[in-house]
Amino acid sequence: MALMHVDDLTMRFSGITAIERLTLDVQEGSITSLIGPNGAGKTSVFNCITGFYKATSGDIVFDGQSLINLKPYQITYRGIIRTFQNVRLFKNMTVLENVLSGTHSVSKQSIFGALARHSAARLEEKAVLESAEYFLEYTGIYNKRHELARNLSYGDQRRTEWARALASQPKLLLLDEPAAGLNRGEKDSLIELIRKLRSDFSITVFLIEHDMDLVMKVSEKVIVVNFGVKIAEGTPNQVQTNPQVIEAYLGSEEEEDEDGFIS
């Protein structure tokens, strides 16, 4: 069953069409990748799903309910969490506080609880702390939990972002270029982590990635977009041999091919 169904989605910004009549399915429990050349509209799709952009037309149905017209925070409450292309941590806060932000949508203490500190509020505070610590351990960043996020190495910032996303106990995890800036070893452990968290928490993973090696290794389904239009869809093997995909990636001769797609 499709956990998320994007139906005929179009997104235009003042004359430029970022996404055109895109239809795709993300199956429950799958690892699905969205790929395409630079500027193909991949991040726009994520921004529409998470409510940061308002789609011009079309529908996005998640878990049986439409996400259109919902605000980003409401979509997070529905169980979709994203990571950002350029790791957006709360830089002047500690790693632990960053991960606690993930627990915001799964806890409910109000200002009255904060001021009165009654037993329910204290219990919840203890529970979210334990949950945050669990995910800090899970992503291997526990020892640095009291450091400020901006003092971390890039790899550790990524880990923190992962822990933060997991702490919200999502149904669907959207990863925007999770391998960007990672070395080969880190990429291998990333692949392992993606597979592991799917089996540990039964999270569905939908990712945008430029690193074809990673995409082909980790995904069960690959969707290819170019100029906002879906040009291919299938298993990694099917997509890799699709002539339209090869053309989109190679394009005209002078276009750079930083992705090493056909290597």
């Binding site: 940061f52 505070e125 979210v128 450091e147 933060r164």
Partner: protein
């Protein structure tokens, strides 16, 4: 910077912090026995600025919103109490919930439409609103127009009429402690963290499920409510209030106290407010220099901000200066 690190190390020790706080409470409680009325009044003034600075700190320090009209919040509380006592003969203590309610309603009316926009707009709207409040007060009969409201009777507390400087010293000391507890509880809670996430990165906060509009409104309302209550107590302490007590300079002073000490840090804000209230008094009686004390104060402020843009209060260990929540450059900027 060496000595900042030393202080910080001491403060990071929980037992040491508690001992220092307990000692400080005892000293503050005993002080009126040894001090004359003038010094008590200076300290009272410091407490008063601490209350205002802690209220504004919820808005500016915790949530990163830029409020340039905080004087209006405290004017609303002061006038509500003043009018209810003078015109309607209410008991002072009963005016407090009324003052709280009026402050909250005013904050919701101003913040509601504004906070949906990017935070920068709030600076302009709060500035305008503060002027509207002041000019309305100056031109309305019920607020006593330009002369304000005078001869507001002093309240009683369990039979004691609060008339002596040491009475007010204790009343405001208790208020300061209550405000510290409120600020601390908000800071270390889900709500306080949500406000900090908004301050750090509004988009990422939304992505983590924080309803940024309603949390910004919440911070703004709490700050306004704290200002309103402070205003109510100010009205009965001073026994007279007039529009000139609530002008733009007052808003700037409170904001300076918050920034000087270190935005978002409760002890920092308290030190900033104390510094702000006490420093000019130290030079008052010295000839020549006394007349130029505000000039020296200005130079000192600039020097502090250049050397420690994150405020006077030492940072947590392991963090470097610059770009901190206490950095003026991050206020209201997205």
């Amino acid at each position: 910077m060496q000595y900042f690190t030393k202080i910080r190390q001491l403060l990071d020790n929980k037992f040491a912090t508690r001992a220092i706080l307990a000692a400080l409470c005892v000293i503050m409680a005993l002080l009126p026995l040894f001090l004359n009325n003038y010094v008590l009044n200076v300290l009272w003034n410091a407490f008063f600025y601490m209350l205002l600075a802690m209220g504004l700190n919820i808005i500016v320090g915790y949530c990163g919103l830029c409020d340039l009209g905080y004087a209006a919040k405290f004017a609303i509380g002061a006038y509500t109490t003043g009018i209810l006592i003078k015109t309607y003969h209410w008991n002072f203590w009963l005016t407090l919930p009324a003052s709280l309610a009026v402050s909250i309603i005013a904050a919701l009316l101003i913040g509601g439409p504004t906070l949906k926009l990017r935070s920068d707009y709030l600076a302009i709207v709060t500035l305008g609103f503060a002027e509207i409040v002041r000019i309305t007060a100056r031109n309305s009969n019920i607020t006593g127009s330009a002369t304000g409201i005078s001869a507001i009777p002093r309240p009683s507390f369990f039979g004691i009429r609060l008339v002596k400087p040491n009475h007010w010293y204790y009343v405001f000391l208790v208020l300061v402690i209550i405000f510290i507890i409120i600020s601390g509880r908000i800071r270390n809670s889900r709500v306080g963290r949500a406000l900090a996430f908004i301050r750090e990165d509004e988009d990422a906060a939304q992505a983590m499920g924080v309803n940024t509009t309603s949390y910004k409104l919440l911070a703004y309302t709490i700050g306004a409510a704290m200002g309103g209550i402070t205003g109510s107590f100010y009205a009965v302490k001073m026994t007279s209030i007039s529009p000139s007590s609530f002008d733009f300079t007052q808003s700037v002073n409170i904001l300076l106290a918050v920034i000087l000490g270190g935005m978002g840090k409760i002890p920092g804000v308290i030190v900033g407010a104390a510094f702000f209230a006490i420093f000019p008094e130290l030079f008052r009686d010295i000839p020549v220099i006394g007349d130029m004390r505000m000039l020296f104060f200005g130079i000192l402020l600039i020097a502090v901000m250049l050397n420690r843009p994150q405020g006077l209060w030492p940072d947590k260990l392991g963090s470097e200066p610059g770009g901190l929540p206490g950095d003026i450059n991050t206020v209201g900027r997205r």
